[in-house]
């Protein structure tokens, strides 16, 4: 009797799907997500695509609309090759941080997989995109699609007017600086150009009013001292030092036409849009995996998913969160799905069934009782680095048997620095958190000086952390790209971040064209 009742409440049976079943499954999953996990999501738009279209989406950085560029063709060839050789399967889904949230589902998926993917992407990722502080601050989910539409159209018009080669040259150079094209620490100055001009005019007026001819008669020695004092002022007027190279070039390059500036801006906006995603891999995937795992189990407990389907779901789930050990031939780094899910389940455990150790380490959440609230808070406020620094527990470090290896280039050996013991927990947690700090793992390169009235020599500075230098060949090639956008000599000085000692300097005048 009971069995029959449960059979009738199944969301689906068999592996085939149709739109009615998809819709019913989504409604059930969404209801339970809101009710049990208190998720808050954008409206969802589900698109069914073929494997070919999934490859297309891969190669245009996952966006449904993208301007044309040869490098996307190259990536397409690469992905296509991997896929054809069976070296890499395609993702079951792709989700875009937009409003409405676009979720791509592969047509080959079985219905069980579609349900899993719906819970994972349409609810998990979707909730994260809508509620995480980083995404809220830096991306505008409602505007991204129309912006990409504009970008694509704009670049097509530029190609018509200025020729493919000219547009491609600007895009090549801008792409080379994409990683240096984001604001990491501050938001861009928000002055509109009109207000900017007004401010400049007011300042000139003030200078005219307060002009005093006496200054001219000052003895020359003091004027020289004045000249020296001009340097900081010059830097201040250009907002130097500037970490966002693309922004600096867009605003200050003297050789760019307006359309070229706009193209740089487009590349910069897209880079900035993706910046939060790069900082929240573990959290984003962890959140989505936690949500699908929890929701699928809840549906199964309620008798809405059959045992067969649940087995298939669990099999796929365990493939996704598989984490081989470091000496396993399959090891290729830490799996963000696995780490994220484990940490979130760990938070759940700490909130409900804390040990004495947990009470010691996490006094504010241990035994809190309401794990939903704790998780919702963590999802909203953190990025990978701070999340790990805050929530990686000793229990999890032991479970994963983490250890830290120090690797100095000039030593023939790596040295094990810490392991999962009482003394190592803090260090491992800090090291793991640091390894997810995007800003720290990318070379820190800033514009430090340029004399616009003099020789216009653009000076960049690379702050060398831990003695990690830049790769020579790609550095020279990238400098050439900067020179193309800047139009005058560009030099890059490597300076040790701690001691301030200059290590070496490379200028475009030393690099053959």
């Amino acid at each position: 009797m009971a069995r029959q009742a449960s059979k009738s409440s199944l969301l689906f049976s068999g592996s085939d799907w149709d739109f009615k079943t998809l819709s019913r499954a989504y409604d059930a999953i969404e209801a339970i997500a809101v009710e049990e996990l208190h998720l808050d999501t954008y409206p969802v738009q589900m698109e069914i695509i073929s494997s070919q279209q999934m490859l297309d989406a891969y190669s245009s950085v996952g966006m449904p609309l993208m301007y044309r560029h040869w490098s996307f063709g190259k990536h397409f060839l690469y992905q296509d090759l991997l896929y054809r050789k069976g070296g890499r399967g395609l993702a079951y889904e792709l989700v875009i941080n937009s409003n409405p949230c676009i979720v791509y589902l592969m047509e080959e998926n079985t219905m069980a997989l579609q349900a899993l993917v719906t819970a994972h992407a349409a609810l998990g990722h979707n909730h994260f995109f809508k509620n995480n502080q980083l995404f809220k601050q830096w991306t505008d989910a409602g505007a991204i699609l129309s912006y990409l539409d504009f970008a694509k159209g704009y670049i097509v018009r530029c190609e018509e007017r200025h020729g493919l080669a000219a547009v491609e040259a600007v895009l090549d150079s801008a792409h080379a600086l994409m990683a240096q094209g984001v604001f990491r620490y501050h938001r861009p100055p928000k002055l509109s150009s009109e207000r900017q001009r007004e401010g400049l005019r007011e300042r000139l007026e003030y200078e005219e009013q307060s002009y005093n001819d006496l200054w001219r008669t000052l003895p020359p020695s003091q004027r020289k001292a004045n000249d020296k004092g001009q340097d900081p002022e010059r830097k201040k007027s250009l907002n130097l030092p500037e970490e966002n190279l693309l922004y600096f070039l867009e605003k200050n390059s003297l050789v760019l036409e307006p359309w070229q500036r706009e193209i740089i801006r487009i590349v910069r906006v897209i880079a900035q849009y993706f910046y939060p995603q790069r900082q929240t891999q573990v959290m984003n995937e962890g959140c989505a995996t936690f949500v699908h795992y929890t929701l699928m189990n809840m549906l199964f407990d309620r008798g809405q998913i059959s045992e067969g389907a649940m087995l298939e779901i669990l099999r796929n789930h365990s493939n996704v969160v598989f984490q081989p050990a470091f000496d396993d031939p399959r090891f290729s780094g830490i799996n963000p799905y696995a780490l994220g899910l484990d940490m979130m389940q760990d938070i759940q455990r700490i909130s409900t069934k804390p040990t004495a150790e947990d009470r010691d380490w996490f006094p504010d959440i241990a035994g809190h009782g309401n794990w939903r609230e704790v998780l919702l808070g963590a999802w909203a406020d953190h990025r990978d680095e701070s999340f790990i620094r805050q929530y990686l527990s000793p229990a999890l470090i032991r479970k994963w048997r983490f250890f830290v290896v120090g690797d100095a280039a000039d030593q023939p050996h790596c040295q094990v620095a810490s392991i999962h013991n009482e003394r190592g927990y803090d260090e491992i947690r800090a090291a793991l958190a640091h390894s997810y700090e995007v800003g720290a793992n990318q070379p820190d390169i800033q514009v430090v000086d340029v004399d616009l009235l003099g020789d216009r020599h653009l000076r960049l500075q690379h702050k060398v952390n831990n003695g990690i230098l830049l790769d020579d060949a790609s550095r020279d090639a990238t400098l050439r790209h900067i020179r193309r956008l800047w139009g005058y000599e560009v030099s890059l000085a490597a300076v040790d971040a701690e001691t301030g000692v200059a290590i070496h300097e490379r200028s475009t005048s030393q690099i053959a064209e």
Partner: protein, 435 residues
Amino acid sequence: MPIFIDRRLNPKDKSLGNRQRFLKRAREELKRSIRDQIRTGRIADVDAEHAVPMPETGTAEPSFNNAWNSGRRQHILPGNRHFSPGDLIPKPGGGAGASSPGNTASEDDFRFVLSREEVLDLFFEDLELPDMVKLNLKEILAYKPRRAGFAATGSPTNINVGRTMRNSHGRRIALRRPKQEELDAILREIATFEEVPSSAAAHQRVAALREELDRLERRRRRIAYVDPVDIRFNRFDPRPVPNANAVMFCLMDVSGSMGEREKDLAKRFFVLLHLFLKRRYDRIEIVFIRHTHLAQEVDEETFFYNTQSGGTVVSTALEEMHRIIDERYPVHEWNIYAAQASDGDNFAGDSERCIALLNGKLMRLCQYFAYVEIIDEREAHIFGATENGTSLWRAYSEVDQRWPNFQMSRIATPADIYPVFRQLFGRQPAPLKRA
């Protein structure tokens, strides 16, 4: 309830444009690697997909990257079984750390597949049949619109304003449409009468004028300024675009003196020629003639795959070719090309006959005649530089000197085929002058 969109039926190959841009960018390098592959491989392989390595120049995407072999790093790894703090682990390969990113193969080291069309396009780029000058209209494929007078019907975009207004003007004069000036004059007159104090005569006059005004206005309304009958449209006539007809004669010696190796080389040459013509020219006819001491026209299949043997009389092939031209390909309509392959052996005295045939008729009919001689690899050293050679080679040298549209070359190894082919069919800076 989410929105569902089924995208599976959307146009495919969204990234085709990007792929084409990429191929264009890497064109030179891809061309070189395909030619190298084909030179060393089998000629028939041209007609297939090819995997090529990622070109190195022009397709790098540089950015500022950390050098993996400098500085101090920390790796955080899972799955510790037996390490304690302070343990030393030797670095694999003496350099990189346990999981240095520099060790993994970069995304740029991969081979990718070019489709058959892309291979052929790259392979046959800058090759063409020289001197394709005779155009005719026998088989029309393309039309081009051309202005041809005016029509009373057409689409609004084609309205001819000048014509239309001229018709309208004539019609207005013929039908005596009242002009604006006439109406204005009457109105002015009425106004002058109304200013002065009225008399009976004036009243009458004003009434008459008003009636006249009314009549004119009604007439103006009846006779339109521009009537549909006035409108004229530019007319366009589709005009056929002349089309080049070309025929290629492939002449191959299959006599007993041609060994397996020679036949193989000759066939490879013709396979290449065949692929090239099929790829680059939509409308081209190919005539296959093979000869021993007798020549016969055969189909493609027989030409490439059948075996036959016998003596050698080269002139029979030339005669057969001449007969076919006379029969089927009028010289004033067809661009005629010929490629001949032979080992250079000929029946005694027949070479003179060949010269006579070529000088007498054939070279006048042909746009271009290419002769390829298959020689022994050992002979290649001897004959390589000199004009000395087989009887046919010596004979053809005479023809070569007399006719600029005659070319000859020697092939000793499979690797020679492609360079010779390029030499014979490379795009010429200016069309050949016919002697």
